[in-house]
Amino acid sequence: MEKFQTVCPYCGTGCNIDLFVENNKIVKAEPTEKHPINDGELCLKGMYGWEYVHSPRRLTKPLIRKKEGVFSKDGKLEEVSWDEALDFAASRMKRVVAEHSPNHIMGFSSARCLNEDNYIFQKLFRVQGSNNVDHCARL
């Protein structure tokens, strides 16, 4: 069993968690002893809130809405390759910026994800000329 000291993914307190991992699976979580923030304590979410990581319902393949094999607004979500999904997202974004304006694209970033994720996400919009980036800080 390997131990990793990490940070709780729920509220903004930032409690430190010792995660125990075996065969690439989390097996338990314990509060980090003597950490100044949570000093050996965790709430229910920090203690038991890691199970979703291994949920069988996690998405593993990209999806595109398709009807008869091509993208369609009235289609259904279907599994596609990474290349197809990324090319599709990129080409649609490029087209909206070119045909309309950078102001016609908008992004909702995530207060759940890493600083690094958030930084790259807003940079994607800014370098294309759009300041339409927000996240749920208001909600």
Partner: protein
């Protein structure tokens, strides 16, 4: 937070909690507060609901939903009348004291008693306590901000802290307890329409940093906010929406309107780890590695940057979110997305905002140094307490005290602001705040309604509802509608009955819990459950004039008892609205979750 959360335990003489259900939403902060009480600190709790913390408090003031400003102004009225304000602190560090003095003079503790039944003597006592103790800390959350007068609420808190000098020292401060693990980080990383790491988009510094580091011309106009989005889509001004790691179908107010607007998009991209309610209406869904499957950093409510290692390998093909976004950027031929590691990304953040993050290196935080920004260089120990020099961020270094009033209806707000600016002969552009109710009870919607969280679940439940220990734990009730006892008496609805809560925007159905802990004429529900999401009824029309926040903490609604048959019908209707995807239904059938059950 201006201060570190551990100071509740070690330094505060008074912990003043307003609009925070700390023991359910921030249990470990509540623990730090309780440690403070053991040391001898006093606790004041102000909230429409008699929460756990309220039961432990030395003083509990049960205010009606939306009554923050009259109460805070009455406290200041009494403090000034008794001469308990800190004149030296005000003279040395603040401007605008005469404005505040003027605006609070009509708000007396007696008026609070008349309007709410809270004893004037209690208002006076808590006001004196706050002003007199050596170190008072003000803690709040969404119970202060999610209103049409959210920003004015915060101005009122800041007025109170400043006129008493309760800032810039250990155990004091203005302390919003951040709801999400990295909401502080998302703000600091520039996930907001007006700011990038390096400053507000129109400032010289931000423009210069973007030119030098991003090699682009930064748009100097503030972008759209999330709350403007449905309207902007309907006007054709937004054609493509890219949502990552959020579930706005459930978390945004007025669900029907939001879903309808999204159907008019040219392209809707969603990046998430589950097929959320939002992903189910997207055109493209991009999965990603999640927490513990990728390395990186979070920023907590005390502004501390903390390191998270990669602990497990994600399923084949899954990349961290930042890498998925870089892949898209490269396919659009954008410059500056060739990052190989999260450390390289963070190092660019440090270049963009050196005064804030320059000294916070991966090396230091991997060594578990707990560093709060600003931390400009590698020898700097970080800044757990802000404003220790009692200087504000304004060019003159002075703190602005903001006049704040309260009017009867939102229509009167602008007139009040104009009148105040004239009466006080205020300089052009000096802000005036004003509180009001966004909606008042009507005949059809006679009750006040408010929302919140439960300790077991988190937000829209995307993660916690996938954790069996939390979803199926013993004393966990699922979606319930909590109502005050007077509503129960008036309507004859009892605990355990099915009821529907509705207003012009939508309806939800659930079992009822009658609770004596709620201020009168008030309904409470959570937004964790797709089968009964309070946000379906929430007000997305009104906005705070400063922050554009919608008043999701306050709306009006009617309630009526229904039978089990009608309950099931509403639940099925809701399920179809929230979960249109066949893929989702198949997965749910294969591995059942607690769904249409009550």
């Amino acid at each position: 937070m201006t201060n570190n959360l551990t100071e509740f335990a070690t330094d505060s003489d008074l912990i003043f909690c307003m609009g925070t259900n700390t023991s359910e939403c921030h249990p470990i902060i509540a623990m730090q507060m309780l440690r403070g009480m053991k040391r001898g600190a006093k606790l004041v709790v102000i909230d429409p609901r008699k929460t756990d913390m309220a039961k432990k408090a030395d003083y509990y003031l049960q205010i009606p939903v939306g009554y923050n400003i009259p109460l805070l102004n009455a406290m200041m009225n009494h403090i000034i009348k008794k001469g308990l304000h800190n004149q030296k602190f005000i003279d040395d560090n603040c401007v605008g004291f005469e404005y505040v003095k003027h605006c609070v003079k009509d708000f007396t503790p007696e008026r609070v008693e008349e309007e709410t039944g809270i004893k004037a003597s209690v208002v006076r006592e808590v006001a004196e306590l706050y002003a007199k103790v050596p170190a008072a800390s003000f803690a709040y959350t969404m119970g202060m901000t999610q209103f049409v007068d959210g920003t004015s609420n915060i101005f009122a808190i800041s007025n109170l802290a400043l006129i008493t000098g309760q800032i810039g020292r250990p155990g004091t401060g203005i302390n919003p307890l951040r709801g999400q693990n990295n909401v502080q980080g998302a703000c600091d990383m520039g996930a907001l329409p007006h700011v990038i790491p390096g400053g507000w988009v129109m400032t010289d510094n931000a423009q210069k940093q973007a030119k030098n580091i991003w090699k682009c011309n930064l748009n100097s106009e503030v972008g759209y906010t999330m709350t403007d989005l449905p309207e902007n889509i309907e006007k054709g001004e937004v054609k493509l929406l890219y949502v990552f790691g959020e579930n706005p179908v459930m978390s945004d107010p007025d669900t029907h309107h939001f879903i309808h607007a999204c159907s008019e998009l040219d392209t809707f991209i969603v990046q998430d780890i589950f097929l959320t309610e939002t992903a189910q209406i997207a055109d493209v869904v991009l999965p990603a590695a999640c927490w513990t499957e990728k390395e990186g950093t979070f920023l907590n409510t005390s502004r501390c940057v903390q390191y998270l290692p990669k602990a497990i390998e994600p399923a084949e093909g899954l990349m961290p979110d930042w890498q998925v976004i870089c892949e898209i950027a490269k396919r659009i031929d954008l410059y500056g997305f060739d990052f190989r590691t999260p450390k390289e990304v963070w190092d660019e953040v440090r270049l963009m905002a050196p005064a804030q993050f320059g000294g916070i290196t991966y090396e230091r935080i991997k060594n578990r140094e707990l560093l709060a920004w600003p931390c400009p260089d590698e020898e700097h120990p970080g800044t757990p307490i802000q404003y220790t020099d009692f200087k504000s961020f304004h060019p003159d270094g002075k703190f602005k005290l903001i006049p704040i009033g309260y009017v009867d209806g939102k229509e009167e707000r602008i007139a009040f602001e104009k009148k105040t600016a004239e009466e006080l002969n205020m300089p052009e552009g000096y802000p005036v705040g004003c509180g009001t109710m966004s909606e008042k009870p009507t005949k059809i919607s006679p009750c006040m309604m408010t929302t919140g969280r439960k300790v077991y679940h988190y937000h829209t439940g995307t993660m916690t509802r996938e954790c069996n220990a939390l979803e199926f734990g013993a004393d966990i009730m699922g979606a319930v509608i909590e109502i005050s006892t007077d509503i129960a008496e008036r309507t004859g609805i009892k605990t355990g009955d099915y009821a529907v809560v509705e207003n012009k925007r939508g309806k939800i159905a659930a079992k009822v819990l009658v609770t004596p802990n709620m201020v009168e004429n008030t309904i409470f529900t959570t937004f964790h459950y797709a089968e009964a999401d309070a946000n379906k009824l929430a007000n997305a029309e009104d906005q705070c004039p400063f922050s554009k926040m919608n008043p999701v903490k306050m709306t009006i609604a009617g309630i009526r008892k229904i039978d089990e048959k009608e309950f099931k019908e509403i639940r099925i209707e809701d399920d179809q609205l929230m979960h249109p995807s066949e893929l989702y239904r198949q997965a749910r059938q294969a591995i059942p979750v607690a769904e249409v059950s009550s």
